[in-house]
Symmetry: C2
Subunit: 83 residues, 2 copies
């Protein structure tokens, strides 16, 4: 069944304590090539049947209203993945 993937990331000006914790832990584990880390969310919405324009618009709307907090987060990607 097709799925719609929604990616949500903290806005660049928002502190991301989880990302900061990861970037501190990486060198202790020997991973020294990364200068910063941001942690966001990925949602997979399963659609029964075909993904129409209307359903994709619903997903974009849900991404902005339910899946993200527009004060502190950006919806960076909404895309259809056939499974």
């Amino acid at each position: 069944m097709p799925r719609i993937v929604v990616d949500v990331m903290p806005k660049p000006e928002i502190l991301d304590p989880q990302g900061k914790a990861i970037v501190g832990a990486l060198p202790r584990l020997g991973f020294t090539s990364f200068s910063s880390v941001r942690q966001g969310k990925r949602f997979e919405l399963t659609v029964d049947g075909e993904v129409t324009e209307d359903i994709l618009a619903q997903a974009r709307d849900a991404a902005e209203t339910l899946l993200s907090n527009p004060v502190i987060e950006d919806v960076v990607n909404v895309e259809v993945v056939e499974a």
Copy 2:
């Protein structure tokens, strides 16, 4: 600067209470086209300079050891995004 995106999702057999909560809330907001929702994580690792094969291998290794819990989560995607 280039970033490496790592996507982590709960394994299919693992309960996902956040996804369940979202799938319950969607119809109350008028979104009726989605039969299930899974919530995972998205990480963006910033790389200073070029992404070499070695750095990508480091990112894959970090994804399996630090960014995900292999008992309950799958790394579903590791890809380079030029910014």
